[in-house]
Symmetry: C2
Subunit: 138 residues, 2 copies
DNA sequence: AATGCCATCGAGAATAATTCTTATTTTTAT
DNA sequence: ATAAAAATAAGAATTATTCTCGATGGCATT
């Protein structure tokens, strides 16, 4: 009875987001799904991403270099963002237990429901580039 | 000899950002400084904000509801962002020591230089509104 | 006070990501 | 098969931000 209400394109968009580690932009998703559905529209990607976010199927990492980045892995984990190339990496370390939400909620009278922890710096690849081109390393 | 290189408008923009707790947008800063300098241009606000960021005089909290938010307090601290009204609050609790940067840098071969920890949820004010209007509470 | 020099600025055009609108197409229920 | 509902394509519209460039401001030297 209960319908899945998932069109093929919608499904393909979700799978594209879930099936990559790059924490893609809307444009990336569009380019990724386009080959399979050549009549895909960028508006459809945006519309469905907004929907996935509301439904909790994906998460937003935030805006990196002017473009919003998404994550199909909704398990709690943290990220590292490279200031040079904008790449987003997953970090497996856990730093905060979820009871901090409770504690903060009580202290501030708010409803704290989630947190995000983002580390910033220069990734290994960009660090090496900088060294070889003499930008920083020596 | 060494000139301060700070025009009055630039100084006023920096002071506006430093003198508020609201973690303002560029537009907010523009409106705040405009009365004192009626010929202020929004482009000047953006230009100087970009410069302050590069110089490390202010920090970017990230994009909230489509607008970038800034913080004149560069001491390490964390934030709570209300998903309803977009307000940004300071949290004084410290959760991470800075040696995690070292540890992560070694583990990933990157240069981790900073982190940001953001809690999300509904602030007290918005929570109360929701209750009285029957949106969630009752 | 006048001059020269650059940093800074204003105004608005340009850009780019995202959202919105509407007609059309696809999907689902009957 | 057909009608109703949901989803989509195309592109216009919106909006925050950046860019361009001619004009202005502020300081140093005269």
């Amino acid at each position: 009875m209960k319908r899945e209400n998932f069109s093929r394109k919608r499904q393909a968009i979700l799978e594209a987001i879930r099936g990559t580690e790059v924490h893609p932009t809307a444009e990336w998703v569009y380019q990724a799904v386009k080959p399979q559905y050549p009549d895909l529209s960028l508006g459809t990607v945006y519309r469905n991403i907004a929907r996935f976010k509301e439904e909790g199927l994906i998460l937003s990492i935030g805006v990196v270099q002017g473009q919003e980045r998404f994550d199909g892995d909704i398990h709690p984990h943290n990220h590292f963002i490279c200031s040079e190339c904008g790449s987003v990496l997953d970090l497996t370390e856990r730093y905060l237990s979820d009871d901090v939400h409770q504690i903060l909620s009580q202290k501030y009278g708010a409803q704290v429901v989630s947190h995000e922890l983002i580390f910033r710096g220069v990734c290994q690849e960009c660090s090496e580039k900088s060294v070889s081109s003499g930008k920083k390393g020596a």
